[in-house]
């Protein structure tokens, strides 16, 4: 089965700092060679600490930020602002996004109805029809249209606003929905309701989700596949059960061990991640995780580990994996004493 969405070698470097003449002095490698694909009807969770480039990836996919490099294709059709590629406008009809800040992502001057009906009207739906659709969608996301259509965003709770944002994204009738920390700002109880709503909507409309979050429990709950990012790169990816039960990359292991388990007696005393992620302006050489990795050896700081298959579709970028072409070299080296 071919992938619905395929992303290859996506890159974005941001210039930062200014010298005397206002020229950039450094670049942040926000997203550095990210590749993945998602099959129709599945949910890909993207996890990582803040600043790892997961939100930038989402914005690059929507072309809200122009990628420096990389290919984005849906059903084999490549999109982009380069001649020979399909127009971004078409991409945005097939892919929509829900943002983290439910308040900032709704225009405070527009009613709920106007906000939802805005997108379809851009795509040529008549105002009357768009309003009718908006009411239908409000019902679908669990808000009584008779109560809410004329309301303004500040009159709604965070959970209600996020439902509106979901309705707004669905109004364009996309195939793929990007959820960028969409439930992260909500209370736990509201979070669960919105997650269930997302599952229901996915079934009803046959949607495909890209679910971006720093919350590993939430990602485990909703995702079919998971991709772990660290400093702009993918360190591990695979089906959710395999990855959660058998994390291959030391970073993933550290991340997972820092999550309190649901059952107290299963809580293990693992080495927890120490320190902050290094500065993305000057990322470490070799494997970007090596300064925080308890298993780091000389090769880790000199060479980038290849993405290697762990088992089935589960893969990771680490020299410790037996299948890694440089695994032998790693084994031969002494462990760097901390």
């Amino acid at each position: 089965m071919t992938a619905l969405l395929r992303v290859q070698d996506l890159k974005k470097y941001f210039p930062v700092g200014k010298d005397l003449l206002g020229r950039p002095t450094q670049v942040v490698q926000a997203v550095d060679g990210v590749s993945f694909s998602v099959e129709k009807g599945r949910t890909l969770g993207i996890v990582g600490e803040s600043g790892c480039g997961k939100s930038t990836t989402a914005r690059l996919l929507m072309h809200l930020i122009e990628p420096d490099e990389g290919r984005i294709s849906i059903r084999g059709k490549e999109f982009g602002n380069i001649s020979g590629r399909h127009p971004v406008a078409e991409l945005r009809r097939q892919m929509q996004m829900v943002f983290q800040d439910s308040y900032a992502s709704l225009n405070p001057r527009l009613t709920i109805e106007d906000s939802i009906a805005f997108g379809p009207q851009i795509h040529g739906v008549s105002e009357r029809e768009a309003r009718q659709q908006a009411r239908d969608l409000l019902e679908k996301v669990g808000l009584n249209p008779n109560v809410f259509v004329r309301r303004y965003p500040h009159e709604l709770s965070g959970g209600q606003r996020q439902r509106v944002n979901i309705a707004r994204a669905l109004a364009i009738k996309p195939e793929i929905v990007l959820l960028d920390e969409a439930v992260s700002a909500l209370d736990k109880s509201v979070q669960a309701q919105v997650l269930n709503l997302l599952s229901d909507l996915k079934k009803e409309f046959g949607l495909t989700y890209l679910f971006i979050s720093h919350d590993l429990n939430v990602v485990q709950y909703i995702s079919d596949d998971v991709m772990v990012m660290y400093l702009g790169q993918v360190v591990e990816s695979g089906p959710v059960e395999q990855l959660y039960q058998n994390p291959a990359h030391p970073y993933t292991r550290a991340l997972l061990s820092s999550v309190p388990s649901q059952t107290p007696h299963e809580r293990k005393q693992h080495k927890v991640l120490e320190g902050d992620p290094p500065n993305p302006i000057a990322p470490p050489s070799g494997c970007r995780f090596h300064p925080r990795c308890e298993h780091a050896r000389a090769i880790c700081s000199s060479q980038q580990p290849e993405t290697t298959r762990v088992e089935g579709l589960h893969q990771a970028a680490c020299f410790m994996l037996p299948a890694n072409p440089n695994h032998e070299k790693y084994i031969q080296l002494q462990e760097v004493s901390a």
């Binding site: 929507m62 929509q96 527009l110 795509h123 965070g158 700002a185």
Partner: protein, 301 residues
């Protein structure tokens, strides 16, 4: 943890708002708040009266503002038939003050109005598109910021020469840069909000995004700022006339009246005070009303 805590309090507020049940638009709320402020209402009434008197001056004024007899020149305040006295050419002060409002109010409002239209457009374009367009527009306004407002107005008026139109042009030029700067900074902050990104993600073009999503959020703050400039403009405009750079005599205008009556302060000091008093009251009312509007529009989420 902090994000959760703040969300909860936001949530509480939203729930409270929900129980209010009546759903109102932003401007309706602002209006309700404004009319509850006695100072703002008072100032608005005074200003409205002034405008009405100025507009209907030809009907209301007891005398022709440009006809006077030298026999009755500089009659004191309280003179029978001329209860605000007469000026240095024997013209009725009350009639001249009523007619003078036409020019003075126009010169206070029109430049700010034109500058609001032009400055907002420039700031909107600069803020929304950023990059070199922003640099071009904002660096140009920086140059005009290098002049104190009064100096710039007088310099341009001085170079263009006296006259109503020239005064309007120079005052407009003075107010475009500050308005553009405010509009630019507001637009820049609005442009970075998620709902603009969301609109872009729905496939909307720049023009539609500006019209539907940016303009409505930018106009309010810039409008408040512009109202605070009206008072400055009133004072500056009358100042230009006071220097002989505004309207030409015998047109009644408060600044010009102040200028000509200045020669008579040793004979009838209090009559020469009257036109300035009018400028002061108008400017004060505009300032207070602008403050009232600002706090009425400052609605916490």
């Amino acid at each position: 943890m902090t994000t959760i805590a703040s969300t909860t309090s936001k949530e509480k507020f939203a729930l409270a708002a929900e129980t209010a049940a009546v759903s109102r638009g932003y401007w309706t709320t602002v209006w309700t708040r404004l009319v509850r402020d006695p100072v703002s209402v008072g100032c608005a009434v005074v200003l409205l009266l002034m405008v009405l008197i100025a507009v209907f001056a030809p009907l209301l004024a007891p005398y022709d503002p440009s006809q006077g007899t030298m026999l009755k020149r500089l009659s004191p305040i309280g003179t029978e038939g001329h209860w605000l006295g007469t000026d240095e050419l024997g013209r009725d002060m009350l009639s001249r003050l009523m007619h003078g409002g036409q020019m003075s109010l126009m010169m206070g409002l029109l430049p700010v109005f034109i500058a609001f239209a032009i400055g907002t457009s420039l700031g909107l374009i600069a803020g929304f598109f950023g990059g070199w367009i922003n640099s071009l527009i904002m660096r140009t306004t920086d140059v005009f910021f290098a002049f104190p407002a009064v100096l710039l107005a007088i310099a341009i008026s001085g170079a263009l020469g006296a006259g109503f139109i020239n005064a309007i042009i120079s005052l407009t030029l003075v107010f475009i840069p500050p308005i553009a700067r405010v509009a630019e900074s507001v637009t820049t902050s609005v442009r970075n909000l998620d709902f603009v990104e969301a609109a872009r993600a729905s496939g909307a073009g720049n023009f539609t995004i500006i019209r539907v999503h940016v303009l409505g959020n930018v106009l309010g703050p810039v409008f408040i700022y512009a109202t605070s400039l009206v008072s400055v403009c009133m004072i500056l405009a009358a100042g230009l006339s006071f220097l002989g750079l505004g309207v030409r005599p015998p047109t009644p205008e408060w600044g010009l009246m102040l200028n000509t009556l200045r020669q008579s302060i040793y004979i009838q000091p209090w009559i020469s005070v009257l036109p300035g008093l009018m400028i002061f009251i108008t400017s004060l009312c505009f300032n207070l009303l602008s403050d009232g509007l600002r706090s009425a529009m400052d609605i916490k989420r």
